[in-house]
């Protein structure tokens, strides 16, 4: 796979669940390129945020059907999500919000 560092990580996922993971479990959640591997994700996070990654779990979030108005059925596309665990005490500034 020939992905540059910046192509691997697509965006950070900030939700109620991911906030909990940040604070309590030291885990950071990203949406990543569908064909990115765990190794690539680990390297990308380590070099972009200057932290040590202990573990990377990935999963493909399934596409979901949703209804707009009454009849219109739309789909949300599937995407790949990565949960990255950092070494104890390390944080990623971006997730902590603007201080």
């Amino acid at each position: 796979m020939d992905l540059s560092l910046f192509d691997v990580l697509l965006r950070p996922l900030v939700t109620e669940k991911s906030s909990f993971q940040n604070e309590k479990l030291g885990q950071y959640v990203f949406e990543v390129a569908p064909d990115a591997t765990k190794t690539q994700i680990k390297e990308a996070v380590q070099s972009l945020f200057d932290v040590n990654v202990i573990q990377v779990n990935t999963l493909v979030m399934p596409a979901k059907r949703a209804r707009k108005q009454r009849r219109m059925v739309t789909r949300t596309s599937q995407y790949k999500k990565a949960v990255v665990k950092l070494a104890d005490g390390e944080t990623i500034e971006m997730f902590e919000g603007v201080k």
């Binding site: 900030v14 109620e16 906030s19 604070e23 902590e96 919000g97």
Partner: protein, 475 residues
């Protein structure tokens, strides 16, 4: 999995500080009866308020990825921006801090203070302006002396009034003959100013007006009587008249008017004879004409004395004002101006106008109008402050009995609706306003006595204090 409770305890900046202890308050007395209160507080306090404000705001906005009210502080901050949170926090904290600072400084605010400045750099600092009670120094008001000249009613005034009463009871009878001086004719009058010229305009267009043919009459225009005397019913006369050069109304002086007068009715007017019978006819109270004359004189005297006394009181207040030093917080003046505006609005409403209409007609903005009535408001305010102070220093009091009597007296003048008025005045607010009116009257009477040199005695100190507390309690 524990993740089910994800986000149940978001990371808000929480500081466990004892509340209200770390305030640093400095106060400056400003000239205009306001205290400037500068309150410096711990940064943690502001952070806590920001947290609370953010939590409150978060309950109202939906942030993607979070249920309402569940987003952590950092996310809310990103989403709403710091300014909005700080604004909310300052609103809240300002009130809280204001209360605490007042407690700490033991300032007794006269009206709600306002936050004039909030600086949040380094140490959060709030600046409040707190209005305090007006400061009234009457000076040596007890040495004010003004000459009082009792009013005298001249015989001529009594004669005039008697004449009016006589005229009111005149008997009118239709006539067939041409009208004479002393008759009353009903006319339709049409007057054109500057007839036949470019600037001619209608001066009067009146229908069915009763006119007494009297040589002295200057209405509708001097010289009119001469021209219309002798008119008969259904007769029309056209003539020209000039306003005299020294006429009161400058716009009309020296102008020419073309009149077209038609007579629709004519009556003779017979004045009743002025004798004891006439007096008895007017009211059972009078047996002779002399008694009527005495009563008229008394009435005139009363009215004149009342007016004179009002003028006199105005002069006294003016004299006291000169020697006194009165300071009041700006909010009092603002309130007074508002009151005047409201009164004005009420008066306009009865003519079917709103204040906005009026301002448009006068071509003024509200600010201009406010500035215009401000001097009046200041005068009113000073007057009421002086009177309040007089009530206190002179130890004037009214008791419940006096209030009851006054309520009875006032409501009795309303005739049919007396019960309604009595009920209204007997309520707490009504009683208070009656009490205040009585006190004002007493204060004015006292001032009059002082200015006339009667030197009424001051009450002993203890009584004075009691009176003062009663009075301030009723504000």
């Amino acid at each position: 999995m524990g993740l089910a409770r994800a986000g149940s305890s978001p990371a808000f900046p929480i500081c466990y500080h004892e509340r209200g202890v770390q305030l640093k308050v400095t106060t400056n007395l400003l000239d205009n009866c306001e205290v400037q209160m500068i309150v410096e507080l711990e940064t943690e306090r502001l952070d806590r308020a920001k947290g609370a404000a953010a939590r409150r705001l978060a309950r109202r906005v939906s942030i993607p990825g979070f249920r309402k009210g569940k987003a952590p502080y950092s996310v809310i901050l990103q989403h709403l921006g710091e300014d909005r949170i700080v604004e909310n926090a300052v609103d809240d904290l300002g009130q809280e801090v204001y209360k605490e600072a007042l407690e700490k400084t033991e300032i007794n605010p006269f009206a709600p203070g306002n936050l004039v400045d909030a600086s949040l750099e380094k140490k959060p600092t709030f600046t409040f302006n707190v209005p305090v009670a007006p400061n009234v120094d009457l000076g040596d008001y007890r040495s004010v002396r003004l000459d009082y000249h009792p009013v005298e009613v001249e015989d001529k005034a009594v004669d005039d009034t008697m004449g009016q009463i006589q005229a009111k009871h005149a008997v009118l009878e239709p006539i067939e003959r041409p009208s004479e001086l002393g008759d009353v004719i009903t006319i339709n009058a049409y007057g054109t100013l500057n007839p036949g010229k470019e600037n001619s305009e209608s001066l009067a267009d009146e229908k069915d007006i009763d006119l007494l043919l009297d040589e002295q009459s200057e209405w509708p225009m001097p010289g009119m009587t001469e021209k219309i005397v002798g008119m008969e019913i259904d007769e029309t006369r056209e003539f020209q008249l000039h306003f005299p050069e020294d006429y009161d109304n400058n716009d009309l002086a020296g102008k020419q008017v073309h009149w077209s007068i038609s007579c629709t009715n004519a009556k003779s007017r017979t004045l009743p004879e002025m004798n004891d019978e006439f007096a008895a006819l007017l009211s059972a109270e009078y047996k002779t004409l002399l008694e009527l004359r005495v009563a008229v004189r008394e009435q005139l005297e009363q009215a004149a004395t009342k007016q004179k006394s009002q003028e006199y009181r105005g002069e006294i207040i003016g004299a006291i004002l000169e020697g006194s030093n009165i300071a009041f917080p700006p909010i009092m003046l603002r309130e007074r101006v508002n009151n005047l505006l409201r009164e004005q609005e009420g008066a306009l409403q009865s003519r079917g106008l709103t204040l906005l209409d009026y301002l448009k007609i006068e071509d003024k903005t509200e600010e201009e109008y406010r500035a215009e009535i401000e001097p009046d408001a200041i005068l009113q305010l000073q007057r009421s402050l002086i009177l309040t102070e007089i009530v206190e220093t002179e130890g004037l009091k009214v008791d419940d009995k006096q209030v009851d009597e006054q309520i009875e007296k006032t409501s009795a003048t309303f005739g049919d609706s007396a019960d309604k008025i009595r009920e209204m005045l007997s309520k707490e607010n009504g009683r208070k306003s009656v009490e205040l009116d009585l006190l004002t009257e007493m204060a004015l009477e006292r001032l009059e006595a002082i200015a006339k040199g009667e030197e009424p005695e001051l009450p002993p100190d203890t009584e004075r204090e009691n009176a003062a507390t009663i009075h301030t309690g009723s504000k």
